[in-house]
Symmetry: C2
Amino acid sequence: MQIERPYLLFLGDVPDALAAKTAAGIVDWRRDWCVGQMRLPGCNADTGLPDMTVAEAVAAGARTFVVGAVNAGGILPRHWVASIVAAIEAGMDVASGLHMRLGDDPDIRAAAEAHGRRLFDVRHSGERFATGKGVKRPGRRILTVGTDCSVGKKYTALALEAEMRARGLDADFRATGQTGVFISGRGVAIDAVVADFIAGAAEWLTPAADPAHWDVVEGQGSLFHPSFAGVTLGLLHGAQPDAFVVCHEPTRRTMRGVAHPLPTIAEVIDLTVACGRLTNPAIRCVGIAVNTAALAEADARAALDALAAEYALPAVDPVRFGVGPIVERLVAEFPS
Amino acid sequence: MQIERPYLLFLGDVPDALAAKTAAGIVDWRRDWCVGQMRLPGCNADTGLPDMTVAEAVAAGARTFVVGAVNAGGILPRHWVASIVAAIEAGMDVASGLHMRLGDDPDIRAAAEAHGRRLFDVRHSGERFATGKGVKRPGRRILTVGTDCSVGKKYTALALEAEMRARGLDADFRATGQTGVFISGRGVAIDAVVADFIAGAAEWLTPAADPAHWDVVEGQGSLFHPSFAGVTLGLLHGAQPDAFVVCHEPTRRTMRGVAHPLPTIAEVIDLTVACGRLTNPAIRCVGIAVNTAALAEADARAALDALAAEYALPAVDPVRFGVGPIVERLVAEFPS
């Protein structure tokens, strides 16, 4: 899979910024791969890229129209099809992270065939996975987990990779979602794998490696989310992490898409250890990553200090202050 | 999906009886739907049905050739294809519980097209599921869980349905695996659902019902199995059971297909409650179902009595002594 760059990011008419998190993630980490964004009337998300029509994007060099929005169920709304067909007719390939395959829409399929353009469904791996084996593999692994979906697990993992590399560690980000695949150019959208193979796909993604090598594995969902916890558990077992970081968004009142309250960070640590020790008895928490955007800087630092004291763990805001203290803890706990 | 009866059960050349558990389950519960079994050289399983060739089975009235064997990964072995093609040429439909679709084999597909026969892949639901919502639904639900895979969860659920109906309760078995679908004529093979939709599929399978109605939900895998625990957790959250029964096979030394030891019954109860209360805070264990086949009858009764005393729960062998005490506990704890 080689998706041509640069991208035009299509946001559709999503109701909020979180629904455009695929596009936002690409912009956060690969802004130079994007010429602009395209939005439909009613769209409540904004990546900060210039708004463009299909024609303007093609004139600016765009090669791929990226459907950078998600929705519950992964369905492609009918009223997005015309924009996708227009992009194909203007000469762009199309890449999507939705569950529904682009080619399952007859108009999109016909346009792609007529114009010789390629359709990429990054959620659908062509790989045939085995079932998980649970055998300990050499190499080290760190996983981000969350009190909820959409609390910064991907961002934290990418920030950890960058910081670990900056300090000379041998570290590779392992994408488990469509945005991560767009950003890193590889990985597997683990929520789209057949249920029997979740752990097996995670084992494939984080294979045996040099003993000093770190896989930095992007987490998915939450063990406490009633829609997606099965994915989270299979990923935890397959990734067999030595270490994990809990990601948290303190302003969230209910879990994403459902009416359930969020668990505490302590509950997440305890259940992650209780379940994770099945495939790695030495699993431990090495840090807490909190989105403090709602707080003034002094208040944010005070809140992180309080968490660090309560849990005896480094507590950071990866966006605001970086993940340095977590990497320091990792180096101390896992000497070369 | 209406699979024509009677069946010829094909066992291939599976290495042990467990690998033919689909066929064995059909024979246990629907022997009168089967004319015979067909085995290849080297087969180490036996359902007790008469061995037949394809021609003999057709002469005996067989309408569907059922691939009643499973293997890790769900792949269709190449050397089984000739038997399947022969069955099609002799006039039978074919039904399979493997992950791999029958029609993905070009010889099978060509034969089915040439002879106008139907191919049923019971692991692949045509249903489009939503993601789980975790909202409490009216009606009551009981789920079988296990210390391992293949420890009697389906058998126990079917026995519970039969015993509950015999006592006048309104109860329906809900199949979550291919054998259960063959036996009950409906359900969903939940291990074949896309990972994001495990809980949603379980919600679809056990919809809102009359407050006195019981869904008796077939469990899958084990929260302690490193290959399949994600399926188990998604099913637990989606089924939101009021009650559960722990199934156990005491002679098992390692978990099925892997090198991990089995958890204790207490560990299974504790983790099932810890995770299950997310979607049903009142979840409780109402019994233990043990396969005592390795013990003499007096020893079996003594072992069950000891378990019952240790856990303060009814402990039964569903095959040998029935599930009466568990249904009595259920009636006492959930009065109409």
